[in-house]
């Protein structure tokens, strides 16, 4: 489903060139459950950003569902993000002035989907995540766990084939954290590819495949025996 070949990502900090990613090649198959771990500065977030088309590799190629992605224009990449990729962030990134339902609705609005179709889809997504009675609440009226669930509803509303989660439990207590992980794993069971970036080794262990990074390269890539 995804093939990264010889990806380099170089940032220029002042005079110095910093290698965030050094010759990373990776193949991910559809429906997989992958954790990416490593100390901070190891390049795991950069890898996630490149996978999520928020960032472009300096060199190397990225194939997504057999399509060459690297050469697409910014606008076309935005379309791929919109239709194929869902993001879940550590800090939720909900728009504070919009209600939960409106936040979830956002990708549908951007895609220009008819309001009559939008409403039931939003209601369904919130229903699945147990947020039916929170639809009209604004983010500041929700708990952390609820906010992350709204964010997951937003990430899944476009029925993406890939979900990228960057420290999804980093800002949550243990209980709501495990709730969120359960939700994400259930989504993975429906066939969505799930990639979680985390510090938490316990969380990393749960994935079928775990990648450990240091200094911009892949240190280990282990697959659980079924």
């Amino acid at each position: 489903m995804i093939r990264l070949s010889h990806i380099h990502r170089i940032f220029t900090v002042g005079e110095e060139e910093v290698y965030a990613l050094k010759d990373v090649s990776l193949e991910l198959s559809s429906g997989d459950y992958i954790s990416v771990m490593g100390p901070s500065g190891s390049g795991k977030s950069t890898l996630l950003n490149i996978l999520g088309l928020l960032d472009r590799p300096t060199t190397g190629t990225y194939e997504f569902e057999k399509d060459q992605i690297t050469s697409l224009s910014n606008e076309d990449q935005a379309l791929v993000r919109r239709n194929k990729i869902g993001f879940v962030f550590q800090f939720f990134h909900l728009i504070p002035r919009l209600t939960a339902a409106e936040n979830v609705e956002l990708p549908l609005i951007l895609a220009g989907i008819d309001p009559r179709e939008r409403k039931p889809r939003v209601a369904e997504a919130l229903g699945v995540l147990g947020l039916k009675d929170r639809a009209k609440h604004r983010p500041d009226q929700l708990s952390g766990g609820q906010r992350q669930r709204v964010a997951i509803a937003r990430a899944t509303i476009m029925r993406p084939s890939l979900i990228l989660a960057d420290e999804p439990t980093g800002n949550l207590d243990r209980h709501s954290g495990s709730d969120v992980i359960e939700i994400l794993e259930n989504l993975n069971k429906t066939g969505i590819t799930l990639i979680i970036v985390t510090h938490d080794p316990a969380l990393g262990e749960r994935a079928r495949r775990s990648i450990v990074m240091t200094d911009g390269s892949i240190l280990s890539d282990t697959r659980k025996k079924p």
């Binding site: 606008e75 990134h93 895609a111």
Partner: protein, 401 residues
């Protein structure tokens, strides 16, 4: 993203920060309102002058002694004064077919007294023709009688203000007043309405021209007012006046004839220029409002960085982000313009209440121009912040909370 949705999203963004939005709206509204109010004042002044002139009668010419136009020749020798305009000059003009009425004018100031009350008053010496030429109206009694202009009689017509100041509520008709050392009988009182440029018709005493000449001991006329037969005759009348006076003054062009049209069009030009200048100054406040919109939008972009990053993460294209922010700028400037319109018209209401006589009026062109300028500045100054938002790197935008 459909236009309606962009609009709704932008509206939510604006209503999410009410204080900031209101401030920008206020600035825009004040800009638009000041353009409209200032032009309406200029336009009002123009109309006021116009109205005053037409109240004088529409085809009037003024004859002044001396030439006011420069000829480019050497300056006149010291002590050389223009020949006086005399009553005979004025009477000679009446025979021309393009001239309907001739009103010679002598003006001076003299003490007027009655029953021990004394007041310095402007004395206007003229003939019965002045009544029609200046389109006067009588309050009581009658105007100067039709008679030989060269005969001075002791009758006077007084202005309304003079009447109340000297006679109070009592009757003035038939009373004898003393002007300097001569006695005049009051035969008429002007109606209070007559007020025209240069001369407050309610604050003077009108006596026969010959009486005024002997009162001030002069044979010279201050000027001659002429009414042409018809509007089309104004030029002919002007030529005739110049020709007749030249013949009478030994072939010298020593008078100036001013047509009312010329005065009017001069005033019109001056006031139009004034209105445009004032409008231009007011337009600066519109530009300031535009810059304010830009500042507010720039602040908004940097405050909403993570929101913009998120929009991009969930699949907003750069142009969609651009459109959202441009729409916000457009909504701000449009709403500000509409508020300004309301402000301007209520300001106009206040002015009309305070000065009911002053014909203020907001010209249509200024409404259109100020709203268009508001829109253009708003969007123009909105482009920079919107582009900045569209070009924002999502990774950086999302990295901070």
């Amino acid at each position: 993203m459909k236009a309606g949705n962009t609009f709704l999203f932008s509206m939510r963004a604006l209503s999410g920060y009410p204080a900031r939005t209101l401030l920008v709206l206020l600035a825009m509204a004040i800009g638009v309102a000041s353009v409209m109010l200032l032009t309406s004042l200029g336009e009002g002044a123009r109309r006021y002058i116009n109205r005053e002139f037409t109240s004088l009668g529409t085809h009037i010419l003024f004859v002044l002694p001396g030439r006011s136009e420069t000829t480019g020749g050497p300056p006149p020798l010291l002590g050389q004064t223009p020949r006086d305009l005399t009553l005979e000059d004025a009477l000679a003009l009446t025979r021309n077919p393009s001239i309907a009425k001739v009103g010679p004018i002598v003006v001076g100031s003299a003490p007027v007294s009655w029953n021990g009350k004394d007041r310095e008053v402007t004395i206007l010496g003229t003939t019965s023709n002045m009544f029609e030429i200046r389109q006067l109206a009588m309050g009581q009694g009658r105007f100067l009688p039709v008679q030989d202009p060269s005969v001075g009689t002791g009758v006077a017509v007084i202005g309304h203000k003079i009447k109340t100041e000297i006679f109070g509520n009592g009757s003035a008709l038939g009373e004898w007043i003393r002007i300097q050392d001569r006695r005049f009988r009051v035969i008429g009182i002007l109606s209070p309405k007559g007020q025209s440029i240069g001369l407050d018709m309610s604050d003077l005493v009108i006596i026969p021209v010959a009486s005024a000449q002997s009162l001030f001991n002069t044979s010279a006329l201050f000027r001659i007012m002429i009414e042409a037969k018809h509007r089309d005759d104004i030029q002919a009348a002007k030529d005739a006046v110049l020709k007749i006076i030249r013949e009478r003054h030994d072939g010298e062009d020593d008078i100036t004839v001013i047509t009312q049209d010329a005065i009017l069009s001069t005033f019109d030009r001056i006031l139009t220029a004034l209105t445009l200048t004032v409008a231009g100054i007011a337009a600066i406040s519109l530009a300031v409002a535009g810059i304010l919109i830009m500042n507010v939008m720039l602040i908004s972009v940097s405050q909403r960085k993570s929101e913009i990053g998120l929009l991009k993460a969930v699949g907003a294209t750069g142009s969609q982000v651009l459109r959202v922010f441009l729409t916000e700028a457009a909504i701000l400037s449009m709403t500000g313009a509409v508020l300004g319109l309301v402000l301007a018209y209520s300001g106009l209401g206040v002015i009309l209440r305070l000065f009911p006589d002053f014909p203020v009026h907001i010209p249509v062109w200024s409404v259109i121009a100020s709203i268009l300028t508001a829109q253009i500045t708003g969007i123009l100054f909105g482009v920079l912040p919107a582009r900045r938002a569209a070009a924002l790197d999502p990774v950086q935008a999302l990295s901070r909370r």
